[in-house]
Amino acid sequence: MAQKVLMKGNEAVAEAAIRAGCRLYFAYPITPQSELIEYMAKMMPKVKGTFIQAESEVAAINMVYGASGCGRRVMTSSSSPGISLKMEGLSYIAGAKLPAVVVNIQRGGPGLGDIQPSQADYFQATKGGGHGDYRLIVLAPNSVQEFADMASEAFDLADKYRNPVMLLADGLLGQMMEPVEFKPAKTEEEIEKLNKQHYDWCMRTNEDGDDRHHHEINSLELDPNVLEKHVLSLHEKYKDIQKNEVRYEKINVKDDNEILCVAYGTASRIVKSAITELQKEGHSVGLVRPITVWPYPSEVIANSITKKTKKVIVFELSLGQMVEDVKLAVNGKLPVDFLGRAGGIVFTPDEVIAKIKESL
């Protein structure tokens, strides 16, 4: 039986990525994700993988582009300011239909901001960030275990849809230690098999027994009609993702909920403990926790509203970004209220309880 180990989120996600078959990792140091790059520096050589401390996040994401173009499982990670620099590369990766995994250990912004946990990169992660009509699949863990599990899920999703996947965590999850149980590591044969899945499109000269190919890894198309077709094909893919890959957790969502809360990641942990407290006092409060923040569980939120529900309240470690998606989901049926903190400040369960009580 697999054994539980106590680990920081940053290290757990790195270990899980290696186990999932990631053999190339490129990144630039930044707090609060440095344990991740340091773990990779230590462990990649042990599995004969590639670790490069790149000259910048821009270079790192473009190394990812090159490795992914060769059909390899490849990852990069950073924190908010560095993720901004990766946006150019992500747009190219999405445009060229390449799988890749990017971890964002969010910190307070804008600008250099601070190094405290934040959720202020939600817009950037879910609404674009880079240029053009593209989407990232964005998974938002709320525990070290989930963070680790999501690493392998992220690689599978990236491969399945040939699309970049972002793990959207924050400084708290990155730094926090929790027990985690890992999946067995993929063997070299299994990894080779995974790489072979990409043989119909990746650069693979001399790898598949065939000694020459002309594959083009490319996002350029000057003919607007052809480009539109390409973007429409991406769009079809995004529709499939929206249909098949929405993930969420419902906590205490019941017919008698007076209040429905929505929160993801670190914020959802705090809301959850607040709800438990309120339950003891006899209040019925539900929580929908989006696990994928894109695709967004809009229907689940809409369907979690009952005749008893008076209000929907969104909690975020920002001054309100996901709240816009919740409003779209609720579609005017109920008032949508909001509590958020900025600058890397994490609200306490008491602040959450007080906010909910305003409406009870």
Partner: protein, 252 residues
Amino acid sequence: MQVIAQRPKSLRDIPFTYCPGCLHGVAHRLIAESMDELDIRNKTMGVAPVGCSVFAYKFFDCDMAQAAHGRAPAVATGMKRSRPDMCVFTYQGDGDLAAIGTAEIVHAANRGENITVFFVNNAIYGMTGGQMAPTTLPGMKTSTSPYGRDADDIGYPIKASELLATLEAPYYIERVSLLSPQEILKAKKCVHSALKYNKEKRGFTFIEFISTCPTNWGIEPIKSRDWARENMLKFFEIGCFRDKSKTVEGGK
């Protein structure tokens, strides 16, 4: 009768998208011929830049990736590290390599990344219509230096080969000219060496081509070569800046 010169196999049967008389095509041919001669067509992957040579990914008959502006050396790094068995090269213009992509080229060279970089220096931004490049000569007029490049204001042109030759790691750095058949024949030898060293995994190799942009210089093809000879070669000296095969430890 025997064919003694024809299109190399490493070029696909697609006409180049360059303007008439633009020497990008000559650089392409030298690379493709060397690939044929070294028998590495089936062992090569290339990276196209952003610039007039953006379509290079269509022209070479091997696996090709198209990179974001300036990022080709980083993309090539990702490719080479994924496929150490392959020869990986980038093809970049002066805006791509010496302006927006300065960090990527310097650090790929500094890592001694086992790739070959082909750098086409035509002293101007071709694709976007003739703006000032990091290699634009002092006093040279472009659409964004309409009064001539003022070196006191915006600095002197960057000598990429000399710059990279300050680093320890690069194995081979040479600047060549494409301005006459004789010079092209010399350049060919250097391109061949660079790819040969690449095949032998000796380290980072770099060829800078002194080229032309007849269209944006507003000088017809033949005269544009004369203009380049008179002006560019004075500033950008032709020659070898590093060849470790000629030193004791590099010649192994």
